[in-house]
C-alpha cells in the first residue's frame, strides 16, 4: 500500500518560562538579569511512524501522553522542532468544531463559516448545502440563530459539515459521542463508508475496546514515546494490561 503519512524522528518540545511572568516590565527585568529559566517539556520524543492508505490506525494512551500533539503535527498545525513529517493528501480533522461557530448567526450562515474554516470554497459549500442540512436533520431550524440550538444539534451540524466531503486522511479525536444513539449509528456508518472507499483514518481514544473493534493497527503512546505499535488487538491488549 501507498504510505500517506511518514514521520521520521519527530520531536516536539514546548518551552515555558519557569516563573509566570505577567508583565512586560517583569520580563524586561528578568531578561536583563539573564535570569529566565525555561522549563523544557518534550511532548513527543523521536517518533517514527508510517501509515498506509486506507488504514484505520488507533492511537491510544493516557491523558498527556502526546496524542493530541501527534495529531497537531500530522495536521500541520504544529511544525515539529526536530524530524520530518511528510503527508500525501488532505488532512481533515474532525475535532469538536463548535469553536468555529458563531451563536448570533443562523445555522445556514454557520455552515458557510465553518465550511470555509475547513478550507472549502463557497461554491463547494453551496453545491453540498442541502446534503449537509439533511444529514444533520436540521431542515426546520436552519434559518434560526445558532444560540437557539441544543448542544446536540450544534454537534450534529459540526459533524455534518466536516464529513460531507470524502476526506483523504480523517482525524477522529474522541468524537463518536455526538448526539443521540441513532445519530451515532449514522456517524459510524458514514465513517465506515469512507474507510471502505480508501480514506485513511486516525482514531484517537483511551478506550481500548474501540481500538479493537474499529482499527486494523494501533500505536500506544506513553510520555511522548511510542510504547508499542502493531496489530490493534495486540496493542490494545498490552495497553489494557498496563492500566
Amino acid at each position: 500500500m501507498k504510505p500517506v503519512i511518514i514521520l521520521n524522528n519527530v520531536s516536539v518540545q514546548y518551552s515555558t518560562p519557569e516563573e509566570v511572568m505577567g508583565t512586560f516590565k517583569e520580563y524586561a527585568i528578568q531578561l536583563l538579569k539573564r535570569n529566565i529559566r525555561f522549563r523544557e517539556f518534550k511532548a513527543l520524543k523521536n517518533i517514527d511512524l508510517q501509515v498506509d492508505e486506507g488504514e484505520i490506525l488507533g492511537i491510544i494512551g493516557r491523558n498527556g501522553a502526546g496524542k493530541s500533539t501527534l495529531l497537531k503535527v500530522i495536521s500541520r498545525v504544529l511544525i515539529p522542532n526536530e524530524g520530518r513529517v511528510r503527508i500525501r493528501g488532505i488532512v481533515s480533522p474532525l475535532l469538536e468544531l463548535s469553536a468555529g461557530f458563531h451563536p448570533e448567526l443562523t445555522g445556514r450562515e454557520n455552515i458557510f463559516l465553518n465550511g470555509t474554516l475547513l478550507g472549502y470554497s463557497r461554491r463547494d459549500i453551496e453545491s453540498h448545502f442541502q446534503e449537509i442540512v439533511d444529514f444533520a436533520e436540521l431542515d426546520a431550524f436552519i434559518d434560526a440563530p445558532l444560540r437557539t440550538y441544543s448542544s446536540g444539534m450544534v454537534a450534529r451540524l459540526g459533524f455534518s459539515v466536516a464529513t460531507t466531503w470524502k476526506p483523504e486522511i480523517l482525524i477522529l479525536d474522541e468524537i463518536l459521542s455526538v448526539g443521540d444513539e441513532a445519530f451515532q449509528q449514522k456517524c459510524k456508518f458514514r465513517i465506515k463508508k469512507f474507510s471502505d472507499e480508501g480514506t485513511t483514518i486516525l482514531l484517537v481514544t483511551h478506550d481500548s475496546h474501540m481500538v479493537e473493534t474499529l482499527c486494523s493497527r494501533a500505536v500506544w503512546l506513553d510520555h511522548g514515546e511510542v510504547k508499542a505499535i502493531g496489530p490493534a488487538e495486540e496493542v490494545a491488549g498490552m495497553y489494557k494490561y498496563s492500566q
Partner: protein
C-alpha cells in the same frame, strides 16, 4: 515492537509527491500570501460574520456604522468649535480626520482581539494565520466606506465645495488599510510574547490620537514640537492624505503622496514578514 516494521517499504512510492513536507517549505511570507488567496472565501465569511453579527440584535442595524461617527462629530463640534473657531468648516475638518483615525484605531485593536479568537481555532485546524488580521482590516474598510456617507452629508450641509479630488479617496483608503494591517500584524506578533501589549495599546492609541492633529488644526502646534508630532508621526501623513481631497477639495501633493505610500507599504511589508516568521510559534503558545 518499538520500531515501525513497515518503515522500509517506502522506497517504491518515492515518485508520488507529498502534499506537505515539514522539511521543504517556501519562505513563510510568500507561503502565507499564497495561502491567503486560497482562503479568500473564509475572509469573506469572517467579514460577513463581523458585520452581520454585530448589529443582528439592534433595531437600526448597519445604520449604526454611519450614526456612530456622526454622533461623535456632533459632540466634539459642540465642545471644540469655540476653541478652534478659526478653522473654517470645523465640522468637516473634524469628521474627515476622525473617520480616518477611527478606522486605524479600531482595526489595529480588532486585529489584536481577533488573534485571540483565531488562536483557539488555529491550535486545532490548519488555517493560514494572516486570515484573521486581514479579515479585521477588511471589516474596518467596509465600515470606513459606509461612513463616507455621513461625511458627504456634512460637506453638503456645511456648504463645503465637493470637487473631483474626492475621486482620489480610494488611494488613501488603501494606504491606510495597508498601514493598519502592518501595525496590527506587528502588534499581534508582539502580543504572542507579551500578552500585556493589548492593554498597553489602549493607552497608546488614546495618547496617539490626541498628539495627532485630528481635532485641532496643525498650525497651533508650537514649533518646538512640530517635528515630533507631525514629521515623525506616520499617522499624520496618512490622515492628511485622506483629509486633503475631502476638506480642501484638492489632490494631495506628490511629496506627501510618496511619503504616505512609502510609510504604509514599508510597514505592511515589515509586519507581514515578521508575523509570518512568528506564525509557526502560535500553536506552541498556550
Amino acid at each position: 515492537m518499538k520500531n515501525d516494521p513497515s518503515m522500509k517499504e517506502a522506497d517504491s512510492f518515492e515518485n508520488i509527491p507529498f502534499t506537505y513536507d515539514s522539511k521543504y517549505r517556501k519562505s513563510s511570507a510568500i507561503e502565507e500570501f499564497l495561502d491567503i488567496i486560497k482562503y479568500r472565501d473564509l475572509i469573506y465569511q469572517l467579514v460577513r460574520r463581523d458585520i452581520v453579527a454585530r448589529y443582528k440584535r439592534s433595531f437600526l442595524g448597519i445604520a449604526w456604522t454611519m450614526l456612530q461617527p456622526l454622533g461623535m462629530m456632533v459632540v466634539l463640534t459642540v465642545v471644540f468649535s469655540q476653541l478652534f473657531g478659526q478653522v473654517e468648516g470645523y465640522a468637516a475638518y473634524l469628521l474627515s480626520g476622525l473617520i480616518a483615525w477611527t478606522f486605524f484605531a479600531q482595526t489595529t485593536s480588532a486585529t489584536l482581539e481577533q488573534s485571540v479568537w483565531g488562536g483557539t481555532l488555529v491550535r486545532r485546524i490548519y488555517i493560514p494565520h494572516t486570515v484573521f488580521p486581514v479579515a479585521s482590516v477588511v471589516t474596518g474598510m467596509v465600515n470606513l466606506v459606509l461612513s463616507l456617507v455621513p461625511l458627504l452629508l456634512i460637506l453638503l450641509v456645511t456648504h463645503r465645495p465637493i470637487t473631483w479630488a474626492i475621486l482620489f479617496i480610494p488611494i488613501p483608503i488603501l494606504l491606510l488599510t495597508a498601514f493598519a494591517l502592518g501595525v496590527g500584524l506587528l502588534l499581534s506578533s508582539l502580543a504572542l510574547r507579551f500578552p500585556d501589549i493589548s492593554e498597553m495599546y489602549r493607552i497608546i492609541i488614546q495618547a496617539w490620537m490626541y498628539l495627532t492633529p485630528i481635532m485641532y488644526p496643525s498650525n497651533i502646534i508650537p514649533d518646538a514640537y512640530r517635528a515630533w508630532l507631525l514629521y515623525f508621526n506616520p499617522a499624520y501623513y496618512l490622515i492628511l492624505m485622506f483629509r486633503v481631497p475631502i476638506y480642501d477639495g484638492v489632490l494631495p501633493s506628490l511629496p506627501l503622496s510618496l511619503i504616505g505610500a512609502g510609510i504604509s507599504l514599508l510597514t505592511l511589508m515589515i509586519g507581514w514578514i515578521y508575523f509570518s516568521n512568528q506564525a509557526d510559534k502560535f500553536a506552541y503558545s498556550t
